[in-house]
Amino acid sequence: MIQLHKVVKRFRGETALAEINLEIGDGEMAFITGHSGAGKSTLLRLIAAIERPDFGQVFVNGRDITRLARAQIPYLRRRIGFVFQNHRLLFDRPVFDNVALPLRIGGAGRVEAGKRVRAALDKVGLLGKEALNPASLSAGQQQRVGIARAIVNRPLILLADEPTGNLDPELSREIMNLFSEFNRAGTTTLVASHDLALIGVLGHRVVTLHEGRLAGGAE
């Protein structure tokens, strides 16, 4: 589902990723771990075409996305659910509208959108909170709204960048269990996290990055 081939990414001369070769199979779940600044976020951002590599190729679902025209990138992103560390919700509208954003972008009908939003909120345990403003929710709930938004479009791939970064261990485990659940339903899932203790318990593949290089779990 995802292949990185000799990917190099530099920021102002600093190497963020050096010659990364990585393959994530269809329906697989993997954690990317490493110190902060090891390149975890950059790796995820390359897969969603938020960044472009300086060298190498990134294949998503068989297509080399480094060659995508600018106008094609939105279509790629609609197949990918992205969960951000700071959840990036819009506080000027209720939970429902936040979760419905990808459906509005994709052009789903209103009735269909309503059903899917409620289904997504149900999966993350927030059914009944649609009308609330996300600002009135706890950090854990806000992160779960972000997850509902990422899965509402039934993406092929779910990417999560430090989704538990701001949460206590209890909430973190709940969130990680949610990802495992989506993965069991067939979604290829890639989670960047530095929470080694938690990752160890979950028993999925762990890819370790160290200063922009793969230090383990590549195969």
Binding site: A48, I50, A71, P74, Y75, L76, R77, R78, I80, F82, F84, R88, L90, D92, L101, P102, R104, I105, G106, G107, A108, G109, R110, R149
Partner: protein
């Protein structure tokens, strides 16, 4: 096919509804912007409308031009006849009618008041007149003025006067005013364009986060920029409508004065100015076009 169109229209409807909600949320700021657009559109619109109506209020320019050539007083009858022939032979003259001093006197005597006054004179004070109809090449300025001057310089001619001299002066003034007003209109159009471009620019700055999130969720350029175009369109339509109504009202008031002014020149001008819904249509159209262009100007470089 229909389903796709329906979804497309749905997304536009949502963008428009979102824009209106956003404008309603900050009523003071929206009202200020609307007023600004309205004033900037109304000023040139009033000027253009008055200019247009001045043209419409003027008497028909197609009334035939005439030159009255007054001969020197006490010119002998034979000399009058000779001058009449000379004038008829002058280049640019189509037709002449010679009115002798006696004929003039007779015509004046028929008007009671002036007739009594004429009795005070020992001899006939009126000159002989040659009424000249110019040919097609000389019935408009500058040909008309040229012909008038040519006739004025003939020996034995006292002076030559065109019947539409004041109209020509007015024409010249209007031509000057037209240039000035068009320049003014262009400047104010630029003002509207730049104001909207600046407003949309600050709006995109304050909604940068939202635009980025939409892009990350897979929204295309058109989807992300659509609300801003709708904002500009709302400002343009609203401001244009206000400007149109203001212009219609102002024009109605000014037209009354204009009518009085022009009636001093001895004509009654019955034709009406522009019908007010048409004014509103024009300003609204101009407002919408300028504001959308302003938004485009501001969003053109936006890359997400």
């Amino acid at each position: 096919m229909f389903a796709t169109l329906r979804l497309y229209l749905d997304s536009h409807q949502m963008a428009l509804a979102g824009t209106l909600a956003r404008l309603a949320k900050a009523p003071l700021a929206s009202a200020l912007t609307l007023s600004l657009i309205a004033v900037a559109l109304a000023l040139p619109a009033i000027a253009l409308s008055v200019l247009h109506n001045t043209g419409a209020l003027l008497p028909d320019h197609s009334s035939p031009a005439r030159i009255s050539v007054y001969l020197k007083p006490q010119t002998a009858a034979a000399e009058v006849r000779r001058l009449g022939e000379e004038i008829a032979a002058t280049e640019g003259v189509a037709q002449v009618a010679v009115i002798s001093a006696e004929e003039s006197l007779r015509a004046f005597r028929e008007q009671r008041d002036i007739g009594d006054m004429l009795a005070l004179f020992e001899s006939n004070p009126l000159p002989a007149v040659v009424e000249v109809t110019p040919d097609a090449q000389h019935d408009r300025a500058p040909g008309l003025n040229l012909l008038s001057a040519r006739l004025h310089n003939l020996n034995g001619v006292d002076r030559a006067e065109t019947n539409i001299a004041w109209l020509q002066r007015l024409d010249a003034i209007i031509a000057l005013a037209r240039t000035a007003v068009h320049l003014l209109a262009a400047l104010f159009a630029a003002v509207v364009l730049l104001v909207i471009a600046a407003i949309i620019r600050s709006e995109t700055e304050s909604r940068r986060d939202e635009m980025e999130i939409l892009a990350l969720l897979g929204a295309g350029d058109a989807f992300i920029k659509r609300p801003f175009f709708y904002t500009a369109l709302c400002y343009g339509l609203g401001g244009g409508l206000l400007a149109g109504l203001t212009t219609a009202l102002a024009t109605a008031i000014i037209d009354d004065h204009l009518r009085q002014l022009l009636s001093l020149y001895g004509s009654d001008f019955a034709r009406d100015g522009m019908f007010w819904p048409r004014i509103v249509l024009y300003t609204t159209g101009a407002g919408a076009a300028l504001c959308v262009a302003g938004a485009w100007l501001s969003l053109r470089k936006e890359k997400l």
